[in-house]
C-alpha cells in the first residue's frame, strides 16, 4: 500500500526543538520521527517507527542466524534477584525503583542478567541443554543524570540484549565469538564502520569484554590504537610497567627546601634552578611524583579518601579512575578533607616524610596509597616531603616507600606504548555501538545456576552478555548521515525506499506520479508519495530533504515529455529518466 503524505500522520517543523543539543535529536524531531515526552523519554511517530523496525529486523535476523532464541522479558521486575547480585545498590541513582500497592520493591530493568539467569535455572539442568543463547529486543530504563542528547542516551530506550550460557570456558569463548561475529554482520549491514576495542570488564565482574566503536571525531568516547593492531577504550588500556631496577647504587633521599612550589611547574623550575640534576640534564615533570587526593563515593553512601601517586607529567583521567574504583564515583578531595587529615600537606604531599611513612603499607594517615605502574621498583622521584615548602629528592620506590597497590588512573597520552608490544598508540574518538562481554560465573554463582556435567557433577554455568542499543544506533546513524537540509538515510534502514513527489497543479503530473508510485510498490519498494494537492514544490522538496529518503522521484513539467527526475538525496544529483524506465533505474 502506497503511503500518501496527504493522509499521513506527519508534521515537519521549521524550528529546532529548544532542548536539542545534538544533530540527530534536532533533525529527528524536526522531520517528525520522534517527539519528546519527558527528559530522555520519547514517543515514536510513524516515520521513526519504520526506521526502528528496519534496524530491529536486521538485528533479529543476525541473532537468529547466530542460533540465539528470541524471548521477551518484562521491564518491571522484583527487587530480590538484583539484591542478591548486588546491583540493586550498585546501580545507584541510575535505577528506576518503585513500590507496588503491597509495598514490594520493584524496578524498571536497566539490563536483564538476573532474569535470564533465573529463567535458565528454572528450566534447564544438564550440560546437554547447553550451549544456549537467548536474546530479546525490549525497552529498558536508566535514570541518566543528564539525558540531554536525545536518543543517544535516553532514559527509556530499546535494546537488543543477548545472554549466552555454557558450562565450560571454551564453550563461552565460542558463544562469545558467535555473538561477536553476528555484531560484525549487523554493523556491516547497517553501514556502520566499526573498531573493536578491548573494554574494561571490571564493573560487571567479568573476564573479557570488547566494545564496538564507530570511529568519528564527534564521538563521545576516546579510544587508543596502535599501528600494530592494538585497540582499547581508555578505561581498558593498561600501562607497560618498567622492569624493577636495582637501587643498590642509588644515593639516599634528601629533603630540600622548595618554597612556593605547590604546582608541578613551579617545582620543576625551582628544582632546575636551586637543585640541578647531578648529570647536568634538566629535571622535567616526568621526574616528579604527583600525589592526588581523591574521594570515592560508594553506592551505599560511604565515602573514602585515597591518594594516587603518578608521574607529574600526567593528570588523573576521570573515566579511568572511575573504571578502576568502580562501583564508586570519583571526585576531587575538598577543603574539609584536607582539614580532617593534617598529615596530608596540600601541595607537598608525598608517601614519606623525615618522620617516617605517611602513605602506603606503613602509613601513619590510614589512607590507601595507590601508585601508577610507572612508579616501579627502583625508580627515583622528586616528591612532596609532607612539610610545607619542602620536597624530597631521590625518593626510591621499593626502598624508601611501598604503596598499597597500583592503579590505572593516569591519562593515556599519544605515543604511550601499547601493552601488547605493538608499538606506540594514538588517541581517537568514537561512539559506542555495541558491547560484548564475558560475564563468567558471577551471576550464575550468585543466583545458583548450575548444571550436571558429563560426569554427573554439578558445575556452575558461565555466561556472556551482549548488547546493542537499537534506539541509540538509530540516533547514531542519523548523527552520521545528514546535511544542512536534513537527514540522509542509508538504504538499509530508510523509512521508505523511494519518495515520489508530484509538483504543481497539473492533474497529468499527479497521475504520472501515481503511476510511478504504483509501479515501484508493485516492484517491492516501500513508497512514500507526496500527493498533497496544494503544497508548493519548494515546501515539498524541503520536506523530502528533511525526511531523508535516499531516493526521490520528482514528477513535474517533464511529465508532458514522459520524463521524471530521480534525485539522489546524498549526492544531490538529479537524473532525468523516462517514466517507463523508473522501476528499472531503481532496481
Amino acid at each position: 500500500m502506497i503511503t500518501r503524505l496527504s493522509n499521513y500522520f506527519l508534521r515537519t517543523l521549521r524550528e529546532d526543538p529548544s532542548d536539542a543539543e545534538v544533530t540527530s535529536h534536532r533533525l529527528l524531531v524536526r522531520a517528525g520521527y520522534i517527539r519528546r515526552q519527558a527528559p530522555g523519554v520519547f514517543a515514536w511517530l510513524p516515520l521513526g517507527l519504520r526506521v526502528k523496525e528496519k534496524i530491529e529486523r536486521i538485528v533479529r535476523e543476525e541473532m537468529n542466524n547466530a542460533g540465539a532464541h528470541e524471548v521477551h522479558f518484562p521491564a518491571l521486575l522484583p527487587r530480590e534477584p538484583f539484591e542478591i547480585t548486588g546491583r540493586w545498590e550498585e546501580y545507584g541513582e541510575g535505577l528506576f525503583r518503585l513500590k507496588d500497592r503491597k509495598g514490594s520493591d520493584m524496578l524498571l530493568a536497566p539490563t536483564h542478567e538476573e532474569a535470564f539467569t533465573l529463567l535458565v535455572k528454572d528450566l534447564y539442568n544438564s550440560y546437554k541443554d547447553l550451549p544456549l543463547s537467548l536474546y530479546q529486543i525490549q525497552d529498558k530504563y536508566r535514570d541518566e543524570a543528564r539525558p540531554r542528547a536525545g536518543l543517544l542516551r535516553g532514559r527509556e530506550f530499546t535494546m537488543k540484549d543477548a545472554y549466552s550460557f555454557d558450562y565450560t570456558d571454551a564453550g563461552l569463548d565460542k558463544s562469545y565469538q558467535a555473538q561477536r561475529d553476528a555484531y560484525e554482520r549487523i554493523f556491516t549491514r547497517l553501514g556502520l564502520e566499526y573498531v573493536i576495542v578491548k573494554a574494561d570488564a571490571g564493573a560487571m565482574g567479568g573476564s573479557k569484554s570488547e566494545e564496538f566503536l564507530h570511529p568519528t571525531p564527534i564521538g563521545e568516547d576516546t579510544f587508543v590504537r596502535s599501528a600494530g593492531g592494538y585497540a582499547a577504550n581508555v578505561e581498558a588500556f593498561t600501562t607497560l610497567a618498567p622492569a624493577p631496577r636495582s637501587f643498590e647504587k642509588l644515593t639516599p633521599a634528601e629533603v630540600l627546601p622548595t618554597p612556593d612550589t605547590a604546582t608541578i611547574q613551579t617545582l620543576v623550575d625551582s628544582a632546575n634552578t636551586n637543585h640541578p640534576r647531578p648529570d647536568g640534564r634538566l629535571w622535567t615533570a616526568a621526574d616528579t611524583l604527583k600525589n592526588v587526593v581523591l574521594a570515592l563515593r560508594y553506592p551505599d553512601g560511604t565515602r573514602e579518601l585515597v591518594v594516587v601517586g603518578l608521574p607529574g607529567d600526567r593528570e588523573v583521567d576521570q573515566k579511568r579512575a572511575e573504571a578502576a574504583f568502580a562501583p564508586a564515583e570519583v571526585e576531587p578531595a575538598n577543603e574539609d578533607d584536607f582539614k580532617a587529615n593534617p598529615g596530608l600537606v596540600k601541595g607537598y604531599i608525598g608517601p614519606w616524610s623525615p618522620a617516617g611513612p605517611v602513605l602506603g603499607t606503613e602509613s601513619t594517615t590510614g589512607i590507601r596509597y595507590l601508585i601508577d605502574p610507572r612508579v616501579s621498583e627502583g625508580s627515583g622521584w622528586i616528591t612532596g616531603a609532607n612539610d610545607h615548602g619542602h620536597h624530597v629528592f631521590g625518593l626510591v620506590a621499593g626502598r624508601d616507600f611501598t604503596a598499597d597497590g597500583t592503579v590505572e588512573a593516569a591519562e593515556v597520552l599519544a605515543g604511550d606504548p601499547a601493552p601488547d608490544g605493538s608499538g606506540p598508540v594514538e588517541l581517537a574518538r568514537g561512539m559506542e555501538i555495541g558491547h560484548v562481554f564475558q560475564l563468567g560465573r558471577k551471576y550464575a554463582e550468585a543466583l545458583g545456576l548450575k548444571v550436571l556435567d558429563e560426569n554427573g557433577k554439578l558445575v556452575t554455568v558461565t555466561m556472556g552478555s551482549y548488547g546493542i542499543g537499537v534506539t541509540r544506533i538509530l540516533a547514531i546513524i542519523a548523527e552520521l548521515n545528514n546535511d544542512e537540509n536534513g537527514l540522509i538515510w542509508p538504504k538499509t534502514v530508510a523509512p521508505f525506499d523511494v519518495h515520489v513527489v508530484a509538483t504543481g497543479r497539473d492533474a497529468a503530473v499527479f497521475e504520472a506520479a501515481e503511476t510511478v508510485a504504483a509501479a515501484l510498490e508493485a516492484a517491492g519498494k516501500d513508497v512514500l508519495f507526496d500527493d498533497r494537492p496544494k503544497v508548493s514544490p519548494g515546501v515539498k522538496f524541503g520536506d523530502a530533504e528533511l525526511i531523508g529518503v535516499p531516493t526521490i522521484v520528482i514528477a513535474g513539467r517533464g511529465v508532458a515529455e514522459g520524463v521524471v527526475e530521480i534525485w539522489d538525496r546524498r549526492t544531490g544529483e538529479r537524473t532525468p529518466v523516462a517514466i517507463s524506465e523508473v522501476v528499472e533505474a531503481l532496481s
Copy 2:
C-alpha cells in the same frame, strides 16, 4: 528455516504451576509459552512470543485497513498531564507511580489518552488535519489488587490502544464506527465469537461506549440481552421506570408496630400476618422499600455515606453501584457509621419518620438519598419508620418523600424489561475482549486540544478511545481452546502451522520426517520439527498435545511404505497420507 526441537529453547513441565488458578495460565506455563517473573508479570518464551506476534499482526493489519496510523509511546510518563485530567488521583492504587532521580513524579501508563491528546495538540491545528486515528501496540501497567488469573489480568500487559480525533460529533461517530468495524474483523479472524454490548461510559467521562464480549459460561463478566437484540453489560443496563401515577386517591401513610422485622423476609411475613393488604392479596418483598447504607471511598481518601432505596426483592449490585458512583469505591456501611448517625435506625431505615423527613431533599441527617427508578412518583411502599420495631405502610413517593436523585445500583434480574422495549432480558456470562469508547471532549478540553474549523473558529476536538488487550486475548484464546492434554490453537494464531514428529530410532524415519518438514516449509508453512533423537514417542506425542499446534504429522513405521499420519489435534483424528501428498493434503 525449520525450527527443531532438538535445539529450541523449550522445556515442557509435567506439573501445574502452584499459583495458577485458571486453565490458560496453567497450560501456557506448562507448555513453555510464558514464565512468571512477579505477580501478574510474565516473560515470553519463544513459543509464546510467536503466538503474541501472530495476534499483533492481525490487529495491526486491521488497524491499518481502518486508516489508523501506528505510533509508539513510552510506558514511562510524567505526572503533569495525568494531574490535569484528574487521573493521577482517580486511578488510586491501580497506578504504578515513581520518582526519578530529580524527584519528579512519573508513572507507568495504564492507557495513553493524555499523551495522544498532547501529541496531536503539539502537531496539528486545523480541521483539515482531521479526522485522525492513531494506534499503538505497547506494554501497559496496572497495579491490580489481585493479579491471580495469569495473563487474563496481568500487571504488565500488551495492549492495542487507538485514539480518534474529530472536530464534529458526526465525525466522531464515523471514526468510532470504523474502529468498531475493524474490531469485528479482528475477532472474526481470531475465531472469537463476540457480542457487542452497551457499556457504562461514566468513569471515563464519555458519551457512548460498547464492549465486545465473548459469551462463555466461564466468563468473569455478566451481561444481559433480549431476544429483540438489546445487549448491555450489567453496569450499563438502565431500568425502565414506571410512569408517574397520581396519588390523589391513595390513603395516608400509617406507622404500624412491626417488632423483630429487621430483614425483608420477616417484615413481609409480619405484614401478611398482622397488617394484611386491604385487597386480600399477599404482600411480597417487591412491596417493600429497602434502604441500604453504603460508604463511598473517593480516590482522594474522603469517605461519604449514601442511602440507596430500592424494592426489597433486589440487592444492591456491587458492579452497578461502583459504575454509578465512580470513581468512588463502594463498601457497606460499618457499625461506626451507624453509631455516628443515630438518625438511621438499623433494620428500620426509611426516608420518613413521624417526626418528619429523614432522608431526601429535606433530610435531617444530611446524608444523600438516592432511589431506584422503580421507586417512581405515586408508588406506595412499606418501609422503615426510623423507629425500632416500626414500619410505615403506604408511604408514597412524591407525596410523602422526595429523594435526592435516582441511581442504577439495583441488581438486574432475568425477565426485567430491556430499556429499548425489545422484551425481557436474560443474563449471560462473557469475557471482555475489546472496548470502544466515545470519549467526547473531556481530554481535549482538559488539555486544550483545539483546532480551527472551516470558519476560522477554534473548536475543541472530540475523541474516541479503542482498546484490545493483546496478551489478554491470547489468554482467552488459550482458555477456550484446550482439552485435558493441552492447548489446541486456532490456525490463525498457532505458533506453528505444522508440528512434525519423528518417532523411533530408525534413521529412515528421521530422514522422511526431515523431507516432509522441508517440503512444508518450502510451501510456506511454519514448521516445528520434533527431531529429538532419544525421546520416546509417548513423550513426543504428549509434548505435541500440550503445545497444541493444530496439525501434527507423525513419521513412524509407516515410512517404510511411504506413509505418514496427519493428526488433527482438535478432533484427534489420525489420517494416513502418502509422504508425497502431505503438502497437498495440508494446503
